[in-house]
């Protein structure tokens, strides 16, 4: 891909599905604002806000999630608050899937593709450090950051397994998150060059893995259990077309997060007409909330 366009030509195929396409394209070269989540396992929200204020650090809570903060700080990872586990540096939209999963105290939850554990630890905190979250991560190299984040954040309800998610053997679980490996187009603002490396061919390759992960998750869920499928990419091949593969075994529920601007899923793509149910998925674009990009679907197993 030529350097002049920065690879943005690869976004052209989304022109018809993204509202205000030119703004979508233009924002890709702007760096992502810093953000973090307050870790209520270790500190109360007011106490954390008081600390930041005392230090003169600028932050502002998200409109849609009071524990998410926009941070105007260079190298937030070096903040003492981060080292002590009072906050976790996490992209704004990465906080969406756990809220859509909505784990309840007393439940058993599976995070099928867990590392580095931003969502795992958010789920843990939503469950008040009780009951059990199984965090699965097949790659040994990626277990270390997952475990380090859990320990830094004071997490005591997460057990780590290392199965291939496609054949994770045993359930049932009340809720399952499948934050699938993807082409990560929505991370362009954090890691420039991601979009220039994406293609429909690569997305179709990933789709095979994603479908098998989601099918296994649906299998592992209790009847009536919740399965959330998410990616940080725009390609419908990796999103709606993956969800479409399990609609015989689960139904989609609409996602409501007041204060966060989202778009419905797509129900036609590449000349193919898909189920209208897919409109219940949610797409989040960077120019609508000044964030990265994300796709989320909430499924209820039949």
């Amino acid at each position: 891909m030529n350097s002049f366009s920065g690879g943005m030509d690869n976004l052209e195929r989304y022109r018809d599905i993204v509202p205000d396409y030119e703004a979508f394209k233009a924002i890709q070269s702007r760096p992502l604002p810093g953000s973090c989540r307050i870790n209520t396992l270790k500190i109360e929200r007011d106490a954390l806000l008081g600390r930041l204020e005392e230090k003169g650090m600028l932050c502002r809570a998200f409109d849609w999630y009071s524990l998410g903060l926009k941070l105007d700080i260079e190298s937030p990872g070096k903040m003492v608050e981060n080292l002590l586990g009072y906050i976790h540096i996490q992209e704004e939209l990465s906080m969406v899937p756990p809220l859509v999963l909505d784990p309840q105290p007393g439940e058993t939850v599976l995070d099928l593709c867990a590392s580095p554990g931003s969502k795992t630890t958010q789920i843990s905190q939503m469950m008040n450090n009780r009951e059990l979250v199984i965090a699965n991560e097949p790659s040994l190299d990626r277990v270390a950051p997952l475990r380090a984040n859990c320990e830094r954040l004071g997490v005591l309800n997460v057990a780590i397994t290392r199965y291939d998610g496609r054949i994770f053997p045993r359930g049932p679980f009340d809720r399952i998150l499948v934050d699938a490996p993807c082409s990560s187009e929505g991370r362009e603002r954090r890691g420039p060059g991601t979009i220039s490396r994406s293609s429909r061919t690569k997305s179709l390759e990933l789709q095979k893995l994603q479908i098998r992960l989601l099918q296994n998750a649906v299998r592992l869920a209790k009847p009536g259990g919740v399965v959330v499928y998410s990616t940080c990419t725009y390609a419908p091949e990796e999103n709606e077309l993956v969800v479409n593969a399990v609609l015989d075994e689960a139904r989609l529920e609409k996602i409501l997060l007041p204060g966060l601007i989202g778009c419905p899923g797509v129900n036609r793509w590449s000349g193919e007409t898909l189920s209208d149910d897919l409109l219940r998925c949610a797409r989040y674009y960077p120019h609508q909330n000044d964030t990265g990009g994300f796709f989320v679907a909430r499924l209820i197993k039949n």
């Binding site: 058993t108 059990l132 309800n157």
Partner: protein, 190 residues
């Protein structure tokens, strides 16, 4: 059998431990009440002791179970910084309170001389508690030195009432035990 028994062959499986067995060294060294450890289950694997919520565990092969709370590779066993950040606030003895500059040095992983102004609470363990005596202090294999004063061992390090982590107090010095990847000033930004 004590969890740190050196005769036990190291096996790479999670072996359950009783809460009281795990709580004992924390109680004797830091005065942390045993009931702080209720609501968790404990395991020993390789050279660590792990704590996880007491929910039933499904039949799976686990890579880790909750948090590593003690390193039992060497005597004395060492409490982990992450465990002290959770349980250390209940400590009533063997605490060190640092001022801002000392706290900064501690978080960077530094060693510092305990000054006369440093707020120390290095109470000795109850003499009768000999069984767990070895757990977190070094007194059993070092002669008590009247010059250096308090008995050496691991301490809970505080700043402004918050636990920073684990320190090793020895011969008048406080040696930070903050893991390398969590030290201030050395983090790659994420």
């Amino acid at each position: 059998m004590s969890p740190g028994s050196s005769r036990t062959r190291t096996r790479n499986v999670f072996e359950p431990l009783s809460a009281s067995e795990v709580a004992q060294p924390w109680q004797s060294r830091f005065g942390i009440p045993e009931d702080v450890f209720s609501g968790y289950q404990f395991f020993r694997k390789a050279k660590s002791i792990w704590a996880i919520s007491d929910a039933p565990l499904p039949r799976l092969s686990f890579e880790s179970l909750g948090m590593r709370i003690m390193n039992i590779k060497d005597r004395p066993w060492k409490p982990t910084t992450c465990a002290l950040q959770v349980f250390g606030k209940h400590a009533t003895r063997n605490l060190v309170h640092l001022d801002e500059e000392q706290a900064r040095l501690f978080l960077e992983g530094g060693t510092q001389v305990i000054g006369p102004d440093m707020k120390l609470d290095l109470a000795p363990e109850p003499a009768s508690d000999s069984a767990s005596y070895q757990a977190f202090d070094l007194a059993s294999d070092q002669a008590s030195d009247p010059v250096s004063g308090p008995m050496p061992g691991y301490v809970v390090v505080f700043y402004r009432g918050e636990v920073l982590g684990c320190g090793l107090y020895s011969h008048g010095k406080l040696i930070s035990q903050i893991p390398k990847e969590r030290r201030a000033g050395e983090q790659p930004g994420r």
